[in-house]
């Protein structure tokens, strides 16, 4: 079963990984900013207009899952996504990097699930949106979509 995953030829693998690296760099910075805000409440530049209220999300009771802050999970996920994608590109011809695309796909899938869950909480439970959290949601969803596209179109 794992051979099916690791030996699969990915469509446009390098291009998708490059795309992933570009987006995940931005994701790392935003996630880092959110982690900074976690320890310094009110640090985010964020207006309170209409649905937007970053504090209600980042400082509220739903800012964590199983006791782990979403900000920390986001940062770890984005860093790992970036690392595996970059390592695969840098050491393309090494055998040990052959499975890295699948690892990136798995990380982005897990990240997308968490991001979708947080977005659901923002819209239907908290009633406010954090623009930085929403941006992370967009980034990880696009990364996952691109990786999934490459994986499915592969052979």
């Amino acid at each position: 079963m794992f051979e099916f995953l690791t030996k699969r030829r990915i469509h446009s693998e390098a291009n998708i990984l490059l795309f992933t690296v570009i987006l995940s760099i931005l994701g790392v910075f935003i996630a880092g900013y959110l982690v900074y805000d976690h320890y310094n409440p009110g640090a985010l530049f964020c207006p309170e207009e209409g649905l937007i209220d970053c504090g209600a999300v980042t400082q509220g009771e739903y800012n964590n899952i199983f006791g782990i802050p979403f900000a920390h999970l986001g940062l770890i996920g984005m860093v790992l996504t970036f690392l595996f994608a970059a390592l695969r590109l840098k050491h393309w011809s090494r055998d040990y990097t052959e499975s890295f695309f699948v690892i990136v796909l798995i990380f982005s899938f897990l990240g997308a699930i968490l991001a979708w869950y947080l977005t659901y909480l923002e819209l239907f439970v908290i009633g406010s949106i954090c623009i930085y959290c929403f941006t992370e949601f967009i980034l990880i969803t696009v990364i996952f979509g691109a990786c999934l596209y490459g994986f499915i179109k592969g052979e």
Binding site: S12, E13, A14, N15, I16, L18, F19, I22, L23, L26, I30, N40, P41, G42, A43, L44, F45, C46, P47, E48, E49, I52, D53, G55, A56, Q59, G60, E61, L89, W92, S93, I131, Y132, T135, I138, L139, V142
Partner: protein
């Protein structure tokens, strides 16, 4: 999947692109040109080209598209974030800075009457409008503690916390005070009118009253420690 071909000399199945190398190594006496047909040689060339391709990660034709797509998304995201983060904070609907403080006399959670007018004059008063159900207020507690210490444990700035929430009570506010381990004045406004008098759009909202009884500063939502000091210090230092 790689194309396999039977070695014409020993019959072992070898990858097509490695066939020539196999013949030279394992069967050095066999003449490669005689053993392989023209079609075989063409197939080997094609297989080698395919192998060579996979060692080059980028296919130029698509690379620029993916890079452009990534950069466009990054730029759009950054522009949107800058746009939203530079929107003005929600305005109170009434501009209180410079106005006289709205006076009140309400009993604190220990039953002691707190008359704002009696406290005006010696030092600035920082009023925090909060509610016990406000998690942002809980997270601000650590900042408020540090500020209280910074301002001489109440010597330089007087701290007052007011809840005008109908969902609170004297007991709930007292419990909140004990939970966050604060030792300044905590009030539950049972008329629920004080928060609207001070135009609070939500909690926490801060009102800084100067020694002359005017509202020097008004701001809504959490701020970090250094930002709070940068707002309060100019008023304290006069």
């Amino acid at each position: 999947m790689a194309t396999m071909r039977e070695c014409p000399v020993c019959g072992i199945r070898v990858k097509l692109e490695n066939l020539e190398g196999h013949l030279k190594k394992v069967h050095p006496k066999a003449k490669v040109d005689a053993v392989l047909s023209e079609d075989d040689k063409t197939d080997i060339k094609i297989a080698k080209k395919k192998v060579k391709k996979t060692t080059q990660p980028f296919e130029d034709r698509e690379r620029k598209r993916w890079m452009a797509a990534g950069l466009v998304i990054v730029v759009i995201v950054v522009v949107i974030m800058i746009f939203f983060s530079t929107l003005p904070e929600g305005s109170p609907g009434c501009d209180l800075e410079g106005e006289d403080a709205i006076l009140f006399t309400i009993g604190d959670v220990d039953g002691v009457a707190y008359d704002l007018n009696a406290h005006i004059g010696s030092k600035p008063i920082l009023i925090e409008f909060f509610s016990t159900g406000c998690s942002a207020c809980v997270s601000m507690a650590a900042v408020m503690h540090d500020l209280y210490e910074y301002y001489g444990w109440g010597e330089d700035v007087e701290f007052v916390a007011v809840s005008s929430s109908s969902e609170d009570s004297v007991a709930a506010v007292r419990e909140f005070r004990d939970y966050v381990n604060s030792n300044w004045t905590y009030i539950w406004d049972s008329s629920f009118g004080l928060a609207s008098d001070y135009c609070t759009p939500g909690t926490p909202t801060f009102v800084l009253i100067d020694t002359d009884g005017t509202i020097a500063k008004w701001w809504y939502k959490t701020r970090d420690y250094n930002t709070m000091i940068s707002i309060i210090d100019p008023v304290v230092q006069g």
